[in-house]
Symmetry: C2
Subunit: 425 residues, 2 copies
């Protein structure tokens, strides 16, 4: 399979390095074109992968459909990994459909808040644009995976696994993300962090559907595995809340993330002075720029600034329900150490965790193991081969029984062991 | 006297309106040229003053010495009021000396922090550039007043008054500024607010001289008159700490301002992401802009946004010392109501309070009452005629005895009454 990665920033570069480092296991990816609006960045990423003819740098403007099509044709691309900010999704997604090649992204098309009641009601939701085109993708015989990174992505596979093996009925699916990094600030795309943290958080409940809340609502202390421990997590807008209830029968879906209080205040402060604005443009020397885009240029590169941090990050799905007539509460997760990821992939753990999901999903599609045609979230596919490969690629998943009589036998087991036993206790 | 006001923003416009509204009392100002880089703003300010031939709009670039000289010559200007951000002071100050006309400003030339120990040691101080040219001004036979607004400015006259009438010896001079505005945010020049709040605060002590501290250090609850009540005030860099000990014999001089905790965090947050930077420039469409200048363009006009606020602002000098062998503690102040100022001067109370000082000082110079030649702070001049005129121009000063046996007879008296009695208790 020939792959085009659009965006040679942290996620795109890490994906290429994960494939490179997989050696023979990565041979399903025959050619990898690394495209970026900054050609030098694409060349550097290709050089990090050994500078062979397999990893090819290209210059691309993610807003230029014709340019994307040109690269797809030039390199006989079969599958496109979108590793740029989600504001560019529509163009890339549509270019893939037009060229009848596969597509995946790490964040879905953007939401638009409700015009009069943004903190109670939804309006345009994350991914609405993409799922509305499902039939066109079916007709084209192509696969698009919306939300293929770590969150959304990896955790959606965890939820599907839980439904298949760990529960008879599921009550709540609560995605929980936390870390014990020293220092703070932006560790991920500045643009996307502002977007997800300042949009109204979304919750889904059976009977009520999707609704929104105040920013950073319902703070909760969640105990994370891997030595991270207690972290205060709060509601944040995230794709899993859209994706999970489309496929998994349950009563409630939430997403909470360990946004430190000081960082919440920083984001709200930036919003209060107008610097988070992504719509309004200011004219400067004949050019126009939004305050948020200016801010992205001023803030130190988050990948570089987070490379010095010590600590671990954990992404996971906390699922509560019933198994064999008994209440059960399980957290399925992936913990990565920041310094390990910096050494292996020249980027922080959040970025590396985000990059491994798309790599595995593209392998499963390349090998014909995942073969649904249309637009899907990761929970629509078989989770077992995905979870198996997580360990192979260096990101092993874990399972923690949260309470009940299950807790003694399986506390913080490697999820692979559980799968090898057929997911039975 | 013919006056050129450079800057037709809040302070410049208010100064013109104060003169206009003084009627016959303001006849000492024969011609007022209102100059701004935005000619429309100058024209609007002139129109607010009645659109007569006495108030004349002009376009000026405060960085363009030749342009300033041109206007001075064209209109036979005798005195220049600098009402723009202090980063332009050098150019305007030097142009005035060159043309042998008078000068005053509301904020002095900027400081530069100590390169290695910024929170303990001073380096270039506020106004150093200006006072270094004192001899040139003496030689030219011209008057320059550094820091003529409310703080510095009005409060420096209060300190001189206290020295002349209320104390035999002064121990401490503590400038204290607070308000009970509803809402918060920027109520004054965004650029200047960032500058004064994020620079290391300065303190003066006898024997030790000037030194600096951490930002927002030594929080203290100060009880303000006029119904404002208790406000937490913190150390902020300000000109009075430079000006007062040059003229007034005392042991310690401080400046504290009621910067709300949330606003301090906002400023520190803006600094942490690089948006307070005034040195580094980013290239955009062929133009270069500093993050702080970009921020100034993004933040809503502080004058407009503060016009809806209810509440009062108080500026004053809290002086402690000894009189007739007894310990004495006095707060001399001016309280202004925000909505009153919006109605009278189309601007908030802080801006209006800042504008009245320069107007009175120019009158005193025009009438020959203040006639020192050289570069001086306001405490070098006779404070009585200044304080008398404060009431005439609608900004009456008050006095509060802070403790001791003085408190019963004089609590919150109008300062004018005290003056009429010769300042005797």
């Amino acid at each position: 399979m020939n792959i085009l990665i659009i965006g040679a920033g942290g996620v795109g570069r890490s994906a290429a390095m994960i494939i490179k480092q997989a050696g023979a296991e990565g041979s399903w990816a025959e050619k990898l074109v690394l495209a970026d609006y900054n050609l030098q960045r694409a060349e550097e990423a290709a050089a990090l992968c050994g500078g062979t003819t397999r990893f090819i740098p290209e210059k691309v403007d993610a807003r230029d459909s014709a340019g994307i099509s040109g690269i797809i044709k030039k390199h006989t691309i079969h599958f496109v990994m979108n590793a740029v900010e989600p504001s560019y999704n529509e163009t890339i997604f549509d270019a893939c459909l037009q060229n009848k090649v596969g597509y995946l992204d790490c964040a879905m098309t953007l939401s638009r808040p409700h015009p009069t009641d943004p903190y109670h009601k939804v309006n345009v939701k994350l991914g609405d644009y993409q799922f509305a085109k499902h039939d066109d993708w079916v007709k084209a015989g192509c696969t698009a995976i919306a939300g293929s990174g770590v969150e959304p992505g990896m955790v959606d596979c965890f939820v599907r696994f839980a439904k298949e093996r760990l529960f008879d009925t599921i009550d709540e699916v609560n995605i929980r993300d936390g870390d014990n990094y020293t220092g703070g600030g932006f560790g991920f795309s500045v643009w996307t962090t502002i977007e997800e943290c300042l949009n109204p958080p979304i919750i889904w409940e059976k009977g009520k559907g999707w609704f929104t809340t105040e920013r950073f609502s319902e703070p909760e202390i969640f105990n994370f595995p891997g030595g991270i421990g207690d972290v205060e997590v709060v509601n944040v807008e995230h794709e899993e809340v859209i994706l999970v209830p489309r496929v998994i029968d349950c009563n409630r879906v939430t997403f909470k993330y360990g946004v430190p209080k000081a960082f919440r205040d920083l984001l709200l402060n930036l919003e209060s002075v107008g610097m988070a604005d992504k719509e309004k443009t200011l004219e400067l020397g004949g050019a126009a720029i939004t305050p948020r885009d200016f801010l992205v240029r001023v803030i130190p590169n988050p990948i570089e600034s987070s490379s010095a941090m010590e600590g671990k990050g954990c992404a996971g799905a906390w699922i509560r329900g019933v198994k064999n007539g008994k209440r059960r509460s399980v957290y399925l997760y992936q913990v990565s150490d920041n310094q390990d990821c910096v050494k292996k992939y020249t980027t922080n753990s959040v970025v590396a965790q985000t990059a491994v999901g798309p790599v595995i999903m593209m392998e499963l599609i390349a090998r014909g193991i995942w073969d649904l045609k249309g637009v899907y979230g990761p929970e629509s596919f078989d989770p077992f081969p995905f979870i198996e490969r997580l360990a192979k690629y260096g990101f092993p998943a874990g399972i923690r029984e949260m309470d009940s009589e299950y807790s003694k036998s399986l506390d913080e087991n490697n999820l692979l062991e559980l799968i090898s036993r057929g997911g039975k206790e």
